[in-house]
């Protein structure tokens, strides 16, 4: 059986899917979220489905261009465009954060232009530093969020339900790590483009179903021949990626994305939630201390260590540092990483791109040249 034959994997190709339809038939809520700092287990524990906002199926950003500026992120525009087209009307609420400047404004506009007046919007102000005080702030913030969820959707938070949700999500992470191990093998069983499909599907379907489906995915992958015909093992670092076609650019010219440091990639399942007596505290602690994106001001050394660790684990030949145009956060972090990695003798390619893949030919040429450079030296 092929990976693409699974209905679960098909969920990566669209926004709404059959699983969401079934979920909604039971009169259950779907909550859109934008950033990896949203505590998904909390939503799950209240019997609601968290759905990661993405730009899948977006063809152009004509509607979003009218309300955002040309110096705003094209991924953010793609998602807003879909929302303005009504593609996200299946959501019952939106959860946003102070992730980055582009997202903050996009959500402001989403609320004004798309949501009905009573469309619930939740906002989490996440600290930009890792401190005791920051952790305390976040605990209060999540507590308030929890109370708002209870009030808005007439739900009751239950600690045991959360403990169960943490188990379900940790199992999900374990399964993804099993797939990751198949990805970093000498002859990888899964390409980067297939891997991103799995990750995307996994964020769009109820977790219990995901866990069952991931077992099937693992069986399929194990039965596969490993990939041998690649020229360089690459690691992808930087801005958000949800499009398998983006990964294919590298893989079509002889590279193989064997690992990554992406919020929608390896970082999303790397660390389990530590079981603690107070499950909510444990959840918050784990989210706060996870490997971050560059929005966390004092965590560049941790991000660098993560990248170095992945380079070793996955036997990476070269690192692709990419950012969606006008992303100041990843742009600066990639600059720092490029100098850090250069000092370690690790080849890097630092590129900027548009979310809608408007510049693929130039991009391919650069990647080809980079692979050439790695394989010759």
């Amino acid at each position: 059986m092929n990976l693409d034959d699974l209905e679960f994997i098909q969920a990566a190709k669209t926004l709404k899917n059959q699983y969401i339809d079934d979920w909604k038939k039971e009169n259950k809520k779907v909550l859109g979220y934008y950033c990896s700092y949203v505590p998904l287990e909390l939503i799950h524990a209240m019997d609601m489905l968290p759905f990661r906002i993405r730009g899948t199926t977006c063809k152009d950003t004509v509607l979003a261009d009218a309300v955002l500026a040309k110096i705003n992120c094209s991924f953010v525009k793609a998602t807003l465009n879909l929302a303005l087209q009504g593609e996200y009307n299946f959501l019952d609420a939106m959860i946003s954060e102070n992730s980055c400047d582009h997202v903050r404004r996009m959500i402001d506009i989403w609320q004004r232009k798309v949501g009905e007046k009573n469309f619930p919007r939740f906002f989490l102000s996440i600290p930009h530093v890792l401190t005791e005080a920051g952790l305390d702030w976040l605990k209060t913030e999540i507590d308030l969020f929890k109370e708002q969820l209870e009030k808005t959707f007439n739900k009751k938070f239950d600690e045991d339900a959360l403990a169960n949700s943490i188990q379900v999500f940790n199992e999900n992470r374990r399964l993804l790590r099993e797939i990751y191990n198949l990805r970093i093998a000498k002859e990888p069983k899964v390409s980067g483009s297939d891997f991103i499909k799995i990750i995307v599907a996994n964020s769009s379907v109820p977790k219990e179903i995901c866990n069952t489906e991931l077992e099937k995915v693992i069986d399929i992958l194990k039965d596969r021949e490993g990939i041998k015909d690649y020229r360089a093992r690459l690691m992808l670092v930087g801005s958000y990626v949800d499009n398998p076609a983006f990964m294919k650019i590298f893989e079509d010219v002889g590279g193989l994305i064997v690992t990554d440091s992406l919020c929608y990639g390896v970082r999303s399942f790397w660390d389990d939630i530590e079981p603690t007596q107070n499950p909510l505290n444990g959840l918050i602690m784990s989210y706060y201390h996870k490997v971050s994106c560059p929005r966390m001001m004092d965590a560049h050394p941790t991000r660098l260590e993560f990248v170095k660790d992945q380079i070793t684990k996955a036997k990476v030949d070269g690192v692709i540092l990419q950012r969606i145009e006008f992303c100041d956060l990843h742009g600066t972090d990639n600059m720092l990483l490029s100098h850090d990695l250069e000092q370690l003798g690790i080849p890097t390619l630092n590129i900027d791109r548009e979310y809608l893949m408007s510049d693929v030919a130039r991009f391919k040429t650069r990647v080809e040249a980079f692979i050439e450079q790695i394989t010759v030296s």
């Binding site: 906002f123 530093v129 001001m297 100041d328």
Partner: protein, 424 residues
């Protein structure tokens, strides 16, 4: 011990040359605000240069409450003001330094206020003991200060500021400020001197009172002060925290305006249009403001930096230290740009609507600064709200506030002049 503050020496020389030029070629009743600003700037810059060898040097982000740092006997240097004053005073501003850091791999679209100083650090022009910044108002801050800590290996202290303007947020920010002052004390081996801080806050309180007078008088038609006062006020606010020079500069401007109002004088040139600027003015061509006032007849009333949406410290000499920290935290979360940009879109919308009405503006002009992604994302909503609620038009000009190469001043003037025709 010789320690380098070369950009401040460059600025000092540029200020002195500019002042000399003005005094030689302009009659004494012209450019009064500019003369006052330059005189006081030179004084502040002299202090920085003379004390750099003896006192710890603390670099601070413009949105960190600089007043608070006056509790230390230290040389205080604001990072962001340097490239913009260079842009204002020198033909090519800080362009070499923008290019320097861009060539190092920094994104071209990041804010020049930080790119300039980053380039200067790459060239080893500044010796610092530490830098301090808040976690806002924008991604540029969050990103760029990681360069100082990780690449330049400078101790960077970070005061985390939340996204809200609530009592809980003010309390958290106050605790952050207490923590950072404690950290600075440890790093430079000094105890905070709160008597010194009280004096500084008293200066700022007085300065704010004069600024309030200035803004009150700017409501008059015609406006009794030149448009150029906006970038000058921005320079004073950022470069002279808690210093008497800031108070004196604002007093000079206020006195000038009072005199003009008393004599029924305007700012020079006929005032045909009154414009409100919801973002910061440009710095790379000071002649632009003369053109606005005298050729176009359009006053730039207020910009995002020149109206303060916070109260002064109530009683700096007697309030408890705890109360002072709480009040400074409230000021910090409502500091220019932090108030508008590190907040939901409603704040910018309401500030703009309020400003247009309060200053009796005919239009708004928004600088779509390359670095300001969060403001760029708010422009269309602000435009729609102005149109729908006040029937006021808004022009957006795409600029880089400190880099003339992004959009030439002639192009900017053309756009504004064409826009002005639609106002007639």
């Amino acid at each position: 011990m010789v320690r380098k503050v070369i950009p401040y020496e460059i600025l000092r020389n540029a200020s002195a040359i500019t002042l000399d030029l003005i005094e030689r070629i302009v009659t004494e009743n012209e450019q009064i605000a500019m003369r006052s600003f330059l005189r006081h700037s030179i004084h502040v810059l002299d202090d920085i240069i003379q004390n750099a060898g003896d006192k710890p040097i603390i670099g601070y982000h413009f949105a960190f409450p600089g007043d608070l740092l006056q509790c230390f006997d230290a040389t205080l240097v604001c990072f962001e003001v340097v490239p913009y004053l260079m842009a204002a005073l020198m033909p090519n501003g800080a362009e070499y330094f923008y290019d320097r850091i861009t060539a190092f791999g920094h994104p071209f679209h990041s804010c020049t206020s930080q790119k300039g100083i980053m380039g200067m650090f790459l060239d080893g022009l500044v010796d610092l003991d530490l830098a301090i910044c808040p976690t806002g108002p924008c991604d540029n801050t969050i990103a760029s200060y990681q360069f100082f800590s990780n690449q330049m290996k400078i101790p960077v202290l970070i005061a985390d500021f939340p996204h809200y303007k609530t009592e809980r947020a003010y309390k958290y920010a106050a605790e952050e400020l207490v923590r950072q002052i404690d950290e600075i004390g440890k790093l430079i081996g000094q105890e905070p001197d709160y008597a010194r801080l009280r004096t500084a806050l008293n200066h700022s309180r007085e300065a704010q009172a004069y600024l309030a007078e200035i803004n009150e008088m700017r409501r008059a038609i015609p406006c009794p002060i030149e448009s150029i006062v906006n970038p000058l006020i921005t320079g004073a606010i950022t470069m002279m925290p808690g210093r008497p020079e800031k108070t004196q500069f604002f007093k000079d401007v206020s006195d000038l305006m009072k005199k003009r109002i008393k004599n029924h004088e305007g700012r020079g040139g006929e005032e045909k249009f009154r414009s409100f600027w919801p973002n910061i003015s440009q710095f790379y061509d000071m002649g632009f403001y003369e053109w606005m006032d005298r050729e176009l007849g359009m006053t730039q009333l207020v910009d995002v930096f020149t109206y303060l949406f916070f109260d002064p410290i109530q009683d700096p000499m007697h309030d408890s230290v705890e109360s002072i920290f709480q009040q400074i935290a409230k000021q910090a979360l409502n500091y220019p740009m932090t108030h508008q940009a590190q907040s939901f879109i409603e704040t910018m919308v309401e500030d703009t609507l309020w400003g247009v009405k309060a200053f009796k503006a005919d239009c708004a002009i928004m600088t779509g600064h390359l670095g300001c992604k969060q403001i760029a994302g708010a422009i269309q909503i602000i435009r729609e709200e102005l149109r729908d609620r006040l029937s006021i038009p808004m022009l957006t000009i795409e600029v880089d506030i400190g880099d003339k190469r992004f959009n030439s001043i002639d192009a900017v003037k053309y756009e504004i002049a064409e826009f002005a025709k639609t106002l007639l």
